[in-house]
């Protein structure tokens, strides 16, 4: 089945980023952490793409590569079809980010007003005399009152701070916002408020999100497409409904099985996945998941599986899945 697709707003093509590991002060080790190892991904405008994985799988590195806070070793980031090299003002206006920890991502010695003013002045979003009105619009858009403006970040609660982080991101009317674990640092009762705000803003501003998270239930709720990462690679990618109806990669299955269902009647006894993720230090061949994989065969040690298309735009990188 072929579907007519819009051209993606942002595209990652075979993105690679390795970090050199330092062994000692004098000798630089040749070992490398393969943080991102050939990732291709398309983000459609107005839709939410979720990037799922455990810590160290490279999902935050991808965020930093997209935001041009890091430069890739190879591969490219394309914005509306054009290769992005460094961060032009135009690029900054189109792509914004919401950070995980709303406390450390707001400059602590600036007032909320100054923090929100930064993007407006840097990008000359509006005339100087309109700035104050614009700031007021922004805080009300994220559900806060104007008396927050003269406070400092430490005087706000976590949820309020994250709202300011979101207000700062939408100040320049971006097309894409990278949300790096936007709610995982927040209290449980606040999380759904912030998720609702993000959904609301997406609808009213036709935003695309790259939603980075380890929380599968949250991902199931907010995303249109899911991509699962393991050790710097995407191992499975599918539309959200298809993915949750039947994940195919053994790692995705294990992730879903490990999720703790908030229902004491559904206690799963055998949900455990053995072992831990490797450090991502260079290995020679094969599938990086094979050391923990219950289905691993000899082939997995010698040949690296690549992402295969199957029906329903469901991509999987695993030798043990029958190609359709």
């Amino acid at each position: 089945m072929t579907q007519v697709r819009e051209s993606p707003i942002l595209e990652l093509r075979n993105l690679v980023k390795h970090f050199a590991m330092r062994r000692s002060l004098l000798r630089r080790s040749r070992d490398k952490v393969r943080a991102v190892d050939g990732v291709s991904l398309q983000i459609q405008s107005g839709r939410t793409t979720a990037l799922v994985g455990e810590s160290g799988c490279g999902k935050s590195t991808i965020a930093r590569l997209i935001l041009q806070l890091l430069q890739p070793d190879s591969g490219e980031v394309r914005m509306s079809g054009e290769v992005v090299v460094g961060a032009s003002k135009e690029f900054r206006r189109s792509v914004q980010m919401v950070f995980q920890d709303p406390f450390s991502s707001l400059t602590p010695h600036l007032t909320i007003r100054s923090i929100l003013k930064e993007p407006l002045t840097v990008h000359k979003v509006c005339l100087a005399e309109e700035i104050q009105d614009h700031i007021l619009d922004l805080v009300s858009a994220v559900g806060l009152s104007a008396d927050m403006l003269n406070r400092y970040p430490h005087q706000l609660s976590g949820g309020q701070r994250q709202r300011i982080g979101i207000a700062r991101a939408i100040a320049v009317n971006p097309k894409l916002i990278v949300c790096d674990e936007p709610v995982s640092a927040l209290d449980v009762s606040i999380r759904s408020q912030i998720i609702n705000l993000l959904l609301d803003i997406q609808k009213s501003r036709n935003l695309a999100y790259l939603f980075i998270s380890h929380d599968l239930d949250m991902v199931a709720h907010v995303s249109d497409t899911v991509a699962v990462m393991y050790l710097g690679k995407i191992v499975e990618q599918a539309p959200t409904e298809t993915f949750f109806a039947g994940p195919r990669h053994p790692y995705s299955k294990a992730l879903l099985a490990s999720a703790l269902i908030p229902d004491p009647k559904r206690r799963s006894e055998n949900r455990e996945l053995v072992g831990e993720m490797d450090s991502g230090v260079e290995r020679e061949t094969g599938c990086s998941f094979r050391t923990r994989c219950p289905l691993a065969i000899d082939l997995c040690a010698t040949h690296e599986p690549v992402l295969h298309y199957s029906a329903d735009e469901h991509l999987t990188a695993c030798h043990r899945i029958e190609p359709v």
């Binding site: 920890d101 991502s105 707001l106 840097v122 990008h123």
Partner: protein, 289 residues
């Protein structure tokens, strides 16, 4: 319903949370009167610190000369007050220059890795020498004058400030709020001076107040050796140098400027300690949940 604003009383970061502490108050009490008298010396009708009076040599403290006179019959009180002016000028001048160059090079060195290698080696090489020995070398090379004292103190103290500023910049270079500002598109200059440097301003101020004390000492030391402010200008170092021959016969000639140096340096160090205590991050969480 009783609602109290809670968080505003807690966790105030850095400067906003300052409350005067004992050491700072003591330091200011020592130093402020001294500074005020020095600044307004010409209005306070002291005697001329340079006028020689052969008829009143080596007079002990009296109503006319509260601190006595020296071997040329000059009034020691007037010379001490004008000597304070010299110390103040040298201290302020050198610390202003130090602040300017220290912050400038420190910021560059902390932000740009290529600059770090160059500036780092430069500061290292300056810090190899014992400070005072290097000061003597510099003064010997460029000749004694008050302005040159300022130059040599600056050259000697700038590396310390560079290091402090650099350390703060490096600490916050990869902070999330810096990344956040970068993703907004804030340029390097604004990033450094609006988002990062204010975090370093406190420690630099502490260091400058210690530097001030050190400048007073260096000026006195150099003048004592004849390498600082040239006589007959009334600098505390000069006064002590001139008093060497009269220690037994005219104790006031050496104890007064010596005491002043002690008081000024003590006061400045107290201010530095006080500032440091207030900024110490370990104390910041005092009484906080």
């Amino acid at each position: 319903m009783s609602k109290k604003v809670f968080h505003t009383t807690l966790k105030r970061p850095g400067i906003r949370r300052w409350r005067l502490n004992g050491m700072l108050i003591a330091g200011l009490c020592l130093l402020l009167p001294l500074a005020v008298i020095a600044v307004f010396a010409s209005w306070l009708s002291f005697l001329d610190p340079l006028s020689i009076d052969a008829s009143s040599q080596l007079l002990p403290p009296s109503w006319n000369h509260p601190f006595g006179t020296d071997n040329f019959g000059r009034d020691v009180l007037a010379r001490t007050v004008y000597g304070a002016q010299v110390s103040l000028r040298v201290g302020l001048g050198s610390m202003l220059l130090t602040a300017f160059f220290g912050v400038f090079f420190g910021v560059i060195s902390g932000w740009y890795r290529w600059a770090d290698a160059i500036i780092g080696r430069f500061t290292d090489s300056l810090m190899i020498f014992p400070g005072f020995v290097l000061a003597i070398m510099i003064m010997a090379a460029i000749g004694p004058s008050e302005f040159n004292v300022i130059i040599s103190v600056t050259v000697l103290y700038v590396p310390q400030v560079i290091r402090t500023v650099r350390a703060s910049i490096v600490e916050f270079r990869s902070a999330e709020f810096v990344d956040a500002a970068r993703t907004i598109g804030v340029g390097d200059f604004r990033l450094l001076f609006v988002h990062i440097f204010p975090k370093a301003a406190g420690p630099v101020m502490v260091q400058l107040s210690f530097g001030f004390a050190w400048a007073v000492l260096v000026e006195a030391g150099l003048s004592f050796l004849g390498l600082g402010t040239p006589p007959p200008a009334p600098s505390w170092g000069n006064m002590i140098a001139e008093a060497r021959d009269f220690i037994r016969s005219a104790w006031w000639m050496i104890t007064i400027p010596g005491g002043m140096i002690t008081l000024a340096v003590l006061g400045l160090n107290l201010i530095g300690d006080g500032l440091r205590d207030m900024l110490d991050p370990r104390l910041k969480d005092r009484g906080v949940l």
